[in-house]
Symmetry: C2
Subunit: 253 residues, 2 copies
């Protein structure tokens, strides 16, 4: 067997020890007689897996208790709508920086739910450079400021973290998360599709400052509401002994 | 190794031959040098996997070409909002039958997007019986009629398929899909979380009559829009050679 080097678009290579462990545990996870895929999301075993994953991610990425960590389905593209639905609150607009295709997709989705102000764009340079932050037309009344630290299709990467003052800074870190040290405290919300540096595709990690929870618009589907998911995670559910909840940690429904 | 019998809430047991095959292919899927999780969703290999899964499901469930088959993320609970967002169209209301907890969840979510008429309820019988269809207060102008063929928590199951006339019939078949023969032609939309009879949790199968596509409300996130997903599936994308699309078949984003 020869393992491939994979630099394609989409999912990246997973570490061989991880795949070997998954293979070993496929029919019997640590004596339970079942795979992880077959476990109840409310079982002690799965709750431990979920809690360990969160603890490990907090340690690796330096995430303090001021932030909630959510493991959601749908990939980063789902967050393009989930973010405005959860963060617009009683504000009417959000600021976006357009540095390429992923920015544009995020802008198009957010435009469904509020006014999007494109405060800076790389378009005039053919998406080859990022305008100096001095020239950005940001608003102190924006619900948040969104940017894409690394545009993987055009190949345009920020070499700085924007200053957003009291406006929460939101970043799509799908291709950069866990690739370098990160000062999480500069951000209101960080999201990252797992398929590059974290795990298999289909999972998206959301790190959100806790004071930003609870502002979802009424049209937000429950399965996209950060606050609902936060409450429904099995570890929390179990500690609170809430009857009748059946929410998977991975928001499987 | 002793395999467990699992009759818990949540995911069911997966067939041992399937788990064995997944185990064998974990580090090298048929000579590609990678697992399925590491493959580009646009690769020939993954497109073949996706096309085969759809073909097999169509054969097993008897799904004609009049219907689109979508494999989506989020579980059946996400469909509670995805369905009204996609099917309400220019109608103002939808009819729902309340036979238990899953019905109630579906009703609560749909109420965010339009008027929900509960046309029949098992509440007065303590959710022990289903009212005769003669007594249902259905409307010919409803966008659709939704019911839950089997309420797994209360244990209440329909022994008939409701007649809905020209109103599309929508059914949450999470616990019954593929457990018995099914006349798909009676339905406008069938959805089923995969975790009971189809595959691992986190996947939901949506079977939708093609004339019901293309009616999504403007507030529908692209990743929840059946029409967008239908167009963006890799097999379709490839045949049409649409540049710049990067949508995973499993709607991974």
């Amino acid at each position: 067997m020869s393992r491939a080097y994979n630099f394609c678009a989409g999912p990246a290579t997973l570490p061989e020890p991880v795949l070997r462990q998954a293979r070993e545990e496929m029919l019997d996870w640590r004596g339970t007689g079942m795979s992880v895929m077959e476990m109840s999301h409310r079982s002690d075993e799965f709750v431990e897996i979920a809690e360990t994953a969160e603890k490990d991610l907090r340690e690796l990425a330096g995430v303090s208790d001021d932030y909630a960590v959510l493991f959601m389905q749908g990939g980063a593209s789902s967050q393009f709508s989930t973010i405005p639905l959860n963060l617009l609150g009683d504000k009417t607009s959000a600021d976006y920086v357009n540095t390429g295709i992923w920015s544009k997709k995020a802008i198009a989705e957010a435009s469904r739910y509020g006014q999007v102000n494109v405060v800076a764009s790389s378009e005039s340079s053919g998406f080859a450079s990022i305008p100096d932050q001095d020239s950005w037309a940001t608003s102190a009344d924006a619900a948040y400021l969104h940017y894409t630290p690394n545009e993987t299709i055009g190949g345009l990467e920020f070499d700085f973290v924007p200053e957003s003052g009291s406006v929460p800074l939101v970043a799509d870190m799908s291709s950069t998360m866990l690739s370098r040290p990160l000062d999480v405290s500069k951000f209101g919300l960080i999201y990252a599709g797992a398929q590059k540096n974290i795990g298999p595709s289909g999972l998206v990690v959301v790190i959100i400052r806790k004071d930003l929870l609870g502002k979802a618009l009424k049209i937000t589907p429950t399965m996209m509401n950060y606050q609902s998911l936060r409450i429904m995670t099995p570890c929390t559910t179990r500690r609170r002994h809430t009857p009748g909840t059946s929410q998977a940690w991975y928001s499987n429904g």
